[in-house]
């Protein structure tokens, strides 16, 4: 065994049981190498010194402080649990209130509103369209033929239409009806 091997595998030697055959090559090397022997001695003595120095003792009030700390932790955990359950309950309560309000408002309306079935509405065929054909001034200017939409005699008396929609209609109604020929 070389010194480098001794250093690299030293823990195998140190942590093996007394009678473990793993230790044999190390023991052989220690007998012939003062440097490695000193290394092993330094480590053993150093750890012995560490064990011989008393470690820190818990303070006198260690248990009292620990008891207090556990109590405070439990108290805080209880508060957190209550806050968490509260934070879930509030939106649930609001949602329940909204549902209840909706039911209270719309429920009676939907329940009390009578449902009546009405007969189907049938559309009547339209009356024959009144064809109005008149060679109006605008149409004449545009060069388009007036078509059957405008009757010549109606537009020849276009001031009659004006009477029909004006406040003067009531006064001249009889005259207008006679002139246009409506029943």
């Amino acid at each position: 065994m070389t010194c480098q091997q001794f250093l690299e595998r030293y823990s195998d030697y140190r942590d093996a049981e007394e009678e473990d055959p793993v230790r044999a090559p190390f023991l052989g090397h220690l007998e012939s190498c003062p440097r490695c022997a000193r290394y092993a001695l330094v480590l053993e003595r150093g750890v012995e010194f560490l064990h011989s120095f008393p470690g820190p003792e818990p303070q006198q009030d260690f248990r009292d402080r620990l008891r207090h700390r556990i109590y405070q932790t439990e108290l805080e955990e209880g508060r957190k649990r209550r806050r968490a359950s509260g934070s879930v309950l509030v939106p649930l309560a609001l949602a329940a209130a909204a549902i209840f309000t909706g039911v209270a408002v719309w429920g009676p309306i939907s329940f009390l509103t009578p449902r009546v079935s009405l007969p189907a509405v049938q559309a009547r065929a339209p009356d024959a369209p009144v064809s109005l054909s008149a060679p109006g001034a605008g149409l004449a200017r545009s060069g388009r033929s007036p078509g059957p939409l405008f009757q010549e005699d109606l537009w020849s008396q276009s001031h009659v239409l004006l009477y029909e929609i004006s406040p003067l209609y009531q006064r001249t109604r009889e005259g207008a009806v006679m002139r246009v020929g409506l029943p």
Partner: protein
């Protein structure tokens, strides 16, 4: 005239519980004590505190190097044990579990101290050097005189542990001072066996190199 009223403090850490109960609990194994606590016997927790307070304090102190902070971290360890004991897998060793909690708190403490970028850089450099420096016996260039050595031996040996890089220090303390097995150390430090052996060997080499000038 008036009967002397003795007030027994309540709770799991009562100073003087029923003697026979206390003796009975003291004779139980860790697993049995844990079981008693989970069954509702709060005094069992006091027994766990008695068994582990000094040992954990020594372990955490050697790891973080600060007595006051070590007291605080050990208290925090027991608080966490109290709160989470119902989740402990009773097929495992209780001592490994409690040391894992304490070890993680100590590591967090050391990590928090390294938040300063300069300190972090120095820590990283120190760890790298310790992992890659060639293994050596001792530094023979410095050897203080006998008087200095005798006066400062304790201080120097304790300082030698503090000077170890954090990941070496943890395995060194667990093995050399707490007597944990490699498997337990691997579980506590959440690494594998190979890493534990490698770190332990380097830690021993660094420790020997530092204290060699102080040892006759």
């Amino acid at each position: 005239m008036f009967a002397k009223k003795t007030v027994q403090p309540q709770g799991s850490l009562a100073a003087s519980p029923n003697r026979s109960t206390r003796e009975e609990i003291a004779a139980l194994t860790d697993s049995q004590v844990v079981q008693r606590f989970l069954e509702g016997q709060e005094r069992a927790f006091g027994e766990l505190v008695s068994r582990y307070d000094a040992r954990l304090l020594n372990f955490v102190y050697r790891t973080v190097g600060d007595r006051e902070r070590a007291q605080d971290l050990v208290q925090e360890t027991f608080v966490r044990v109290y709160r989470h004991l119902h989740r402990f897998d009773q097929s495992k060793k209780f001592s490994t579990w409690i040391y894992t909690i304490a070890g993680n708190l100590a590591k967090n403490e050391l990590r928090n101290r390294s938040r300063n970028p300069l300190v972090l850089f120095q820590t990283i450099k120190k760890n790298w050097d310790a992992d890659h420096r060639p293994l050596e016996w001792e530094d023979e260039s410095t050897k203080p005189d006998d008087l200095f050595r005798k006066r400062h031996l304790k201080e120097k040996v304790e300082d030698a542990v503090k000077e170890l890089p954090e990941h070496h220090r943890l395995v060194f303390v667990l093995r050399e001072l707490e007597g944990r097995t490699y498997e337990e150390i691997a579980e506590i430090t959440e690494t594998n066996l190979g890493t534990v052996k490698s770190r332990l060997n380097r830690a021993r080499n660094n420790f020997a190199r530092i204290i060699a000038p102080m040892v006759d």
